[in-house]
């Protein structure tokens, strides 16, 4: 479980995170939704320590991450897997080496053990024969799947996904969502997903936090998101014709 308390973050005069407090539970897919520029990515990067927060506290299963030294933070980060928006695969390495990279850097496993783990991770994301492909040879969906394989290589306790569906067709986006949900439930990890894709919200959103103007505006489940009377959330959720029709049909 990850707990954030009273997070504040400013860039110059711009208040990006404004007193955000929320809890992300283990074994669940915790979604953060909000418009572009609402502070979702800053919140996620603050949670993992890529941005230093101005004030507030972040706790990983009782361990106060926000006040740790950089050395201690690095140890916690060994337990974190992250799927970046663009994949962030290392251009100079093929798929196998990308997945093996954290194993090489952070474990003392033998080459056979590492190869076995790479095979397992690639199998898990349905890319059994992609070992020798370079990142430039991968499609958008394959890139995301390889990035997921790399993120789970070290058996993380926490998985962060920054807009996992951006740039993907609906079918591939759905497959990625399902994969993330399966991994979350299978390994009982704490998963946090940044998204503004309503399909993801309705498919895999166990808990949903709506960020609006740097504040945690609303929190609930995917069922509640469809029936809420919160005006700002409704404006966001039902901005698409499809979701409007869905709501009307439910009414």
């Amino acid at each position: 479980m990850i707990e954030a308390r009273h997070l504040q973050k400013t860039f110059g005069d711009h208040h990006v995170l404004n007193d955000i407090s929320c809890t992300f539970e283990a074994g669940k897919t915790n979604l953060i939704i909000g418009q572009s520029g609402s502070g979702k990515t800053v919140l996620m990067k603050s949670l993992v320590g890529l941005h230093d927060i101005d004030s507030g506290e972040i706790e990983y299963d009782g361990r106060l991450f926000s006040s740790m030294t950089i050395k201690d933070k690095r140890l916690i980060r060994h337990e974190i897997g992250m799927l970046f928006q663009g994949g962030a695969l290392f251009d100079s390495m093929n798929v196998r080496d990308n997945i093996m990279f954290p194993l090489n850097m952070l474990t003392e496993q033998t080459i056979e053990e590492k190869m076995e783990r790479v095979d397992f991770c690639l199998q898990r994301v349905n890319l059994e024969n992609a070992h020798l492909l370079m990142p430039s040879e991968l499609s958008g969906g394959m890139t995301k799947r390889v990035a997921i394989a790399r993120a789970i290589a070290l058996n993380p306790n926490y998985l962060f996904c920054d807009e996992p569906n951006s740039g993907l067709d609906p079918r591939t986006a759905g497959l990625i969502d399902e994969l993330i949900q399966e991994i979350t439930q299978e390994y009982h990890i704490t998963t946090i997903i940044n998204t503004h894709d309503m399909n993801s919200v309705l498919n895999i959103g166990d808990t949903i936090s709506f960020i609006y103007q740097g504040k945690l505006w609303w929190k609930g489940t995917k069922e509640e998101v469809m029936t809420t009377d919160n005006q700002e959330l409704n404006d966001f959720v039902f901005s698409m014709e499809l979701t409007k029709r869905l709501k009307n049909s439910r009414v």
């Binding site: 990067k45 890529l50 690095r74 916690i76 060994h78 974190i80 954290p102 090489n104 850097m105």
Partner: protein, 246 residues
């Protein structure tokens, strides 16, 4: 004020570059890779430029010391001094600032804007040391090799120019090369090269590492890296020359 702030940030970045880069085996492999990319791949341009500059130096020196009272061996002597004291360490390092500096800044800058650096940090890896320390050490180790080879090729090409053009007797050129040779000039050449290698790699890494935005900013970082490394080389060249030769 901006300059002072920039120097402060650069110093902070240096501390990160020189911290623990992680697994020794991987560091060794990266170091070998960087020796090849930054060093061996720079060899052709260094050899080509050195060969032509060596020949030109001989012709120009011969043209300028063409007095009845000036012994012809001065051509070889002056050419050697120019090449060892200035051309090889300073001019070739300026060329390396262009080639290696832009390579480092664009590589690190691209990794930064595509979140590859964040991915390293997220794995608990000290990205600055992991990415930059092998480059810095590889350049400090291999640039002196390049510069010695460059100086050698320049002097040899001067020999061939003299041999073919007959502007002075070949014997005089060779005697001039050996006239009053002080080994300290080689030490001076090496010290300058090692310092310049450090400046080129760290300044380029600094600009690459501070890239924000997209492809346009990567290009800008690359340009800034080359310009600032070149200025640093010229300024430190004056300081080192004053300290070591006066």
């Amino acid at each position: 004020m901006k300059l002072i702030r920039g120097i402060g940030l650069y110093m902070q970045m240096l501390r990160r570059f020189f911290s623990n880069p992680g697994q020794k085996r991987i560091f060794r492999n990266r170091m070998i890779n960087e020796l090849y990319i930054l060093g061996v791949q720079s060899l052709p341009i260094i050899l080509i430029i050195s060969a032509f500059i060596g020949g030109v130096s001989v012709i120009q020196t011969s043209f300028n010391v063409d007095g009845p009272l000036t012994p012809k061996i001065m051509v070889g002597f002056v050419t050697r001094q120019i090449i060892i004291l200035e051309f090889a360490p300073t001019m070739l390092c300026l060329i390396l600032a262009g080639k290696v500096g832009s390579l480092i800044a664009s590589e690190i800058g691209t990794m930064k804007v595509t979140e590859q650096v964040d991915a390293l940090e997220l794995m608990g890896i000290n990205s600055a040391a992991y990415l930059m320390l092998p480059k810095i050490l590889a350049a400090m180790f291999f640039f002196p090799v390049l510069i010695v080879l460059g100086a050698g090729v320049s002097l040899i090409s001067g020999y061939f120019v003299v041999a073919f053009s007959q502007i002075i007797p070949l014997q005089d050129y060779v005697e001039g090369l050996m006239l009053d040779f002080r080994p300290f000039t080689l030490t001076y050449m090496m010290v300058k090269t090692i310092v310049f290698a450090f400046l080129i790699t760290t300044i380029s890494g600094f600009f690459g590492y501070n890239t924000r935005g997209g492809a346009l900013e990567v290009g800008q970082a690359s340009t800034k890296a080359v310009v600032n490394s070149s200025i640093a080389i010229i300024v430190i060249n004056l300081v080192l020359t004053q300290l070591m030769l006066v």
